[in-house]
Amino acid sequence: MSVFKDAGHLFRFAGLFVLAFLIFLVVRHYIVPKSFGQYGHYRGASIGEIAARPVKFAGHETCETCHSDEAAKKSSGKHAHVNCEACHGALASHADDPSIMPVLPDTAVLCARCHTASAAKPKGFPQVDPASHYPGTPCNTCHQPHSPGMDAGGAK
């Protein structure tokens, strides 16, 4: 035991070190979130929290479960690839509770957003100048928005 003679202060110091390490582990256990490090250097539970946010656009499949007549009309026309909520706006609230009635869009404003003529738009895209093409008349006076093609029986 002569080796450890007068070495008590070293053992006391080592004991203090171990104690401090234990306190560190306990504190760390309480302040680091449980899921931190589950997938990487972040809180794994946050992925589920972000995924749990409510949806506002119901998606066209949801619309078509009830409005199959409009979907059928649309599928044969030029607007077949335009989803319902592209024009009607976010309507998950209406899909959840059909008694909440959506407001019909004003075609004079709505159609112009896409179809106002501009040299910057792709050449093949149908465009009109709203200032000269029956100004002030809502587009759906002549064109049926769900099937707007001239040969689709939509326009008069």
């Binding site: 931190f36 250097h41 656009f57």
Partner: protein
């Protein structure tokens, strides 16, 4: 069994470490969605974009994006040096910077183009959901990360709002939320894609210029598209592993 004080001192930290690994790992919140089965990205078909701003408005509605801030926005480019004149005396000049406008992020569309000459096109922009994302690498607290399905997300309860990530993003896709004071960005509508829906911008796009793609889905049309089209990412020299693919992108786009 007798445990000496010294053995106890050795056992306690070991037990603490073991307990921590037991407590780690809570089950996922979306039970039918397997994160390991997806690798999300987006395809933007430049020739189809008409600059209507539907995506910008839809994103703002879906994600409560504050006015003046954008998770996605649309830019209109105008290259006056293109195309070459028939006599050949005007050549494409890379030193002439293209004119780029994006009034209010293109939310209410664009003013009608008056100059008929040159070449116009629209470039929708948003988070590139990089596989080697610079923004997640600089976060000092582990508040932003790439999820196992390839979406760059922000844990807003953990974010300090230091804005390092805002500076690190080479595409300018992040901002500090003016009310929450934490980093905010495109989540690729993570709350929608995990439920089997497409993103709000893709849902609202009237021409199909935007398409959500799942690179791990062998039936996704993106695979056939990538085979037959010339597809670019923005700033490829930065090796960010961007997953926002642009079809028919002009070389002047930065």
């Amino acid at each position: 069994m007798k445990i000496s004080r010294r053995q106890m001192l050795i056992l306690l930290p070991a037990a603490a470490v073991a307990w921590e690994s037991v407590m780690a790992g809570t089950p996922e919140d979306a039970p039918n969605y397997k994160m390991t089965g997806h690798w999300w990205g987006m395809l933007i078909d430049i020739p189809k974009c008409i600059g209507c701003g539907n995506c910008v408005r839809a994103c703002q509605t879906e994600n409560d994006v504050p006015d003046g801030y954008f998770r996605t926005w649309v830019e209109r480019y105008h290259r006056s040096d293109w195309p070459m004149s028939e006599s050949g005396d005007v050549t494409p000049n890379p030193l002439i910077a293209p004119e780029v406008i994006s009034p209010d992020g293109g939310k209410e569309g664009f003013p009608a183009a008056t100059d008929e000459s040159g070449k116009y096109f629209f470039v929708p922009k948003m988070c590139n959901h990089c596989a080697e994302s610079p923004c997640t690498q600089v976060c000092p607290v582990g508040a932003t990360f790439i999820s196992p399905d390839g979406v760059v997300l922000v844990d807003q309860t953990y974010c300090l709002g230091c804005a390092y990530c805002v500076q690190a993003c080479p595409y300018g896709c992040r901002y500090v939320h003016p009310e929450k004071k934490v980093a905010d960005k495109c989540t690729l509508c993570y709350h929608r894609i995990t439920k089997g829906l497409t993103t709000a911008c893709c849902e609202a796009c009237p021409t199909g210029a935007r398409q959500l793609v799942d690179l791990k889905n062998p039936n996704d049309p993106i695979h056939a598209f990538l085979k037959t089209h010339s597809v670019q990412v923005l700033k490829p020299q930065m090796a960010t592993g961007a997953k926002l693919f642009y079809n028919d992108l002009d070389g002047s786009v930065r």
